[in-house]
């Protein structure tokens, strides 16, 4: 348990921002892993058995032990593969600050939050969704400031938490008829910097593909 050796598998869905966090973390640590693509409308026995409580992706399976919840997985990866740089700073105060911002990002920039934009036709509900999304993103932008990454010079826990949603910006912009760059230029610049990292480039799908997926979801949910 918790040993570095042992096969690593990620039960995933390619468009899931949560799965992207786990893949980025594994790649940052140079860990070899396999991805098992799940059909979320027809979940595998392995997924249902490995995450009986939530039945959701991603699930990280290390050896034969499953771990659920993306941020729990990222912390597990950080604490298991300790040769590579840590995602969190070493002093307790800075760690608490990083955890606070990751928690804020996780709660405010989310799949459900995005759905308030793409899952509604143009109108009051969608405007409300856009407003909440942009308000939260601006708070994050203020925290980022002029730093290279949320962690300063080091790509870390908060960056891993938030950057998957960078691949969803285009889809949200198209559905909501707005520009993230116009509203939060520093966030977009940060996203571009992150995507230059191999771990992020390899883990984020193309924005156009995400947009096509969102259009499919809009059809399924009966949104125009």
């Amino acid at each position: 348990m918790g040993k570095e050796n042992g096969k690593v598998v990620v039960l995933d869905f390619w468009a899931s921002p949560y799965g992207m966090r786990t893949k980025i973390a594994l790649r940052e640590k140079g860990v070899e892993f396999e991805v098992q693509q799940e059909d979320l409308w027809n979940k595998s026995e392995l997924l249902l058995k490995s995450n009986p409580v939530h039945k959701k992706v991603p699930v990280l399976i290390h050896g034969d032990i499953p771990i659920s919840e993306s941020l729990v997985q990222v912390q597990y990866i950080d604490e298991t593969w300790t040769d590579a740089a840590s995602f969190l700073p070493s002093d307790p105060q800075s760690r608490a600050t990083a955890r606070f911002w990751a928690d804020f990002a996780d709660k405010t920039i989310s799949f459900e939050g995005g759905k308030n934009i793409w899952g509604n036709k143009k109108g009051e509900e969608q405007e409300k969704g856009k407003k909440e999304f942009l308000e939260s993103l601006k708070v994050l932008e203020a925290e980022l400031g002029d730093k290279t990454y949320f962690g300063g010079e080091t790509f870390g826990y908060v960056d891993i938490t938030l950057v998957p949603f960078y691949s969803w910006f285009y889809a949200l912009e198209k559905c909501g008829d707005f520009s993230v760059e116009a509203e939060c230029p520093k966030i977009v610049a940060w996203g571009k910097r992150c995507v230059e990292r191999n771990s992020v480039a390899a883990s984020l799908p193309e924005s156009e593909k995400v947009y096509q997926q969102v259009l499919k979801l809009r059809q399924i949910f009966g949104v125009e």
Binding site: G2, I67, E69, E79, P92, Q93, R95, A96, R99
Partner: protein, 218 residues
């Protein structure tokens, strides 16, 4: 240099209580400051500008916010005794998973039990019991979620345990017949010195719950 530890808190808060327990488990001397949530202090607004909520731990002038984040900070800052988290990464992951479950599955139903009535309250009661049963299944035969040791998950749950009686009275139901072993663990936790010293009498919390219920639940 002596440590300066201040806790901005509100006495009935199930989240504030987690921070109090954590500090006492570590034997940390701290200054407790009661906040009036209808008239928040400038210090609270300055130290938690994002959420403006309690608890806020201020350690040598630097704030830590969000209750389980505060608990984890306390564990790391005073790491010489009573670790709240195990050392093995997998077991730590399990503890974090269950704290995430507690904070996402219990919060809304618990809130709705005291603040709503009729069908909405009935639904909330069912959801609350359902989530508690999942937790009870995870607890199994262990005295605490942490095994033999009162740990991270137990601290998280004790916030909710402190409100069990208030929830039962507001919702007119009983948790023990539904979750007997969880209740046994709850009683164990509520008897710990750090917890006893961190909580007001249950009757006071019940009275508080009914007072705010009158405001929210017309």
């Amino acid at each position: 240099m002596a440590d300066e530890v201040i806790l901005l808190d509100f006495w009935p808060s199930p989240f504030g209580v987690r921070a109090r327990i954590a500090l006492r488990e570590k034997g940390v001397e701290f200054e407790y400051r009661e906040e009036n949530l209808r008239n928040k202090s400038p210090l609270l607004l300055q130290m938690n500008p994002v959420h403006k909520k309690i608890p806020v731990l201020i350690h040598n002038g630097k704030p830590v916010c969000e209750s389980m984040n505060v608990v984890q900070y306390i564990d790391e800052a005073w790491s010489d005794k009573n670790p709240f988290l195990p050392s093995d990464p997998y077991q730590r992951a399990q503890a974090r998973f269950w704290v995430h479950f507690i904070d996402t599955k219990l919060y809304e139903p618990a809130d709705k039990i005291w603040s709503t009535k009729g069908e909405e309250q009935e639904t909330a009661k069912k959801e609350y019991i359902k989530a508690l049963k999942v937790l009870e299944s995870e607890l199994g035969d262990k005295p605490y979620f942490g095994g033999d040791n009162f740990g991270f998950v137990d601290i998280a749950m004790t916030g909710y345990y402190s409100w069990f009686e208030a929830s039962e009275k507001c919702g007119n139901f009983s948790i023990e017949p539904e979750c007997p072993t969880l209740m046994a663990s709850a009683k164990r936790c509520l008897q710990r010195e750090s917890v006893v010293n961190s909580l007001h009498d249950p009757e006071e919390i019940v009275a508080f719950a009914f007072k705010i219920r009158k405001i929210y639940c017309v």
